[in-house]
């Protein structure tokens, strides 16, 4: 497993780098609107309505952005979590932890693609 992770390292690093950039650029705005301003009633009622959200995410560009917003940061998160376990637990369980982290990211990415395409 460890050898496979080493062989996949360039692909994982690409997904990790993309995820870092997407999360850093878009997550604060998402959290501000969906997590804070919307629930606190700061926005107009129609801003987060089903019709508007379906229209935003129903076109190809919206779908692409939404898939990128979900899938890529999962790989960034997986890489960070793996390295936290490396820092505290050493190399002994890296094969298992790394595989689990990237498996979560992979399954999440596939589910995200299917969910977004169904919108």
């Amino acid at each position: 497993v460890k050898a496979l992770l080493v062989r996949l390292e360039p692909i994982i690093w690409g997904l990790f780098g993309g995820g870092m950039m997407v999360a850093a650029l878009l997550y604060p705005a998402y959290l501000l609107v969906f997590g804070v301003a919307g629930p606190m009633g700061v926005l107009s009622e129609s801003a987060l309505s089903y019709e508007r959200m379906a229209a935003l995410t129903g076109n190809p560009i919206g779908k692409l952005v939404l898939i990128a917003m979900i899938a890529l940061p999962l790989w960034a998160g997986a890489h960070h979590v793996r390295h936290i376990f490396l820092d505290f637990g050493g190399l002994a369980r890296d094969g298992l932890v790394g595989s689990l982290c990237y498996a979560v990211a992979l399954v999440g990415s596939v589910v995200a693609i299917l969910a977004v395409l169904a919108i």
């Binding site: 650029l25 997550y27 629930p39 107009s44 309505s49 089903y50 960034a76 998160g77 960070h80 969910a115």
Partner: protein, 149 residues
Amino acid sequence: MSELRARVDAMRPEREGPTRTADPRPPDNFPGRGNYVPYIAFGLCGFLLFDVAFGILWSAQVLAQHDAAAWEAHLARFANPLWIVWHVFCLAALTWFALRFFGLFPKTQPNVKIGPFQRPSLAVIGGLLNVTFAVVTFIAVLVLGGGLL
């Protein structure tokens, strides 16, 4: 006068002994002091990335049901004060995460020419990243919040 040279095996012990390499151990300040604190906090933000990504996936799955009532019920859940507190924490943590990332990113760039041009200074790259962050955040808030599109 003959040339004096050290013999290559001058420091070799007379007998084979156990390797004197120390066992690996974390640095003295790890993980609770000095620069290790923000380093560990930055790594722990990986769990928040998982949380927010799966939160967006949850919303996408609700949207995929094509049911306006289910969407309204989904949004109503987020009005719970505990959700709001959690999202405020995530907002603060991931904003810090983003700004730290944009601070670290320029240091990873090699000092090479890009075509005929010299690479911009690290301060310029860092400044551009921070300006991009501010502009993209502003536009994304406008789009998601209903002020644009």
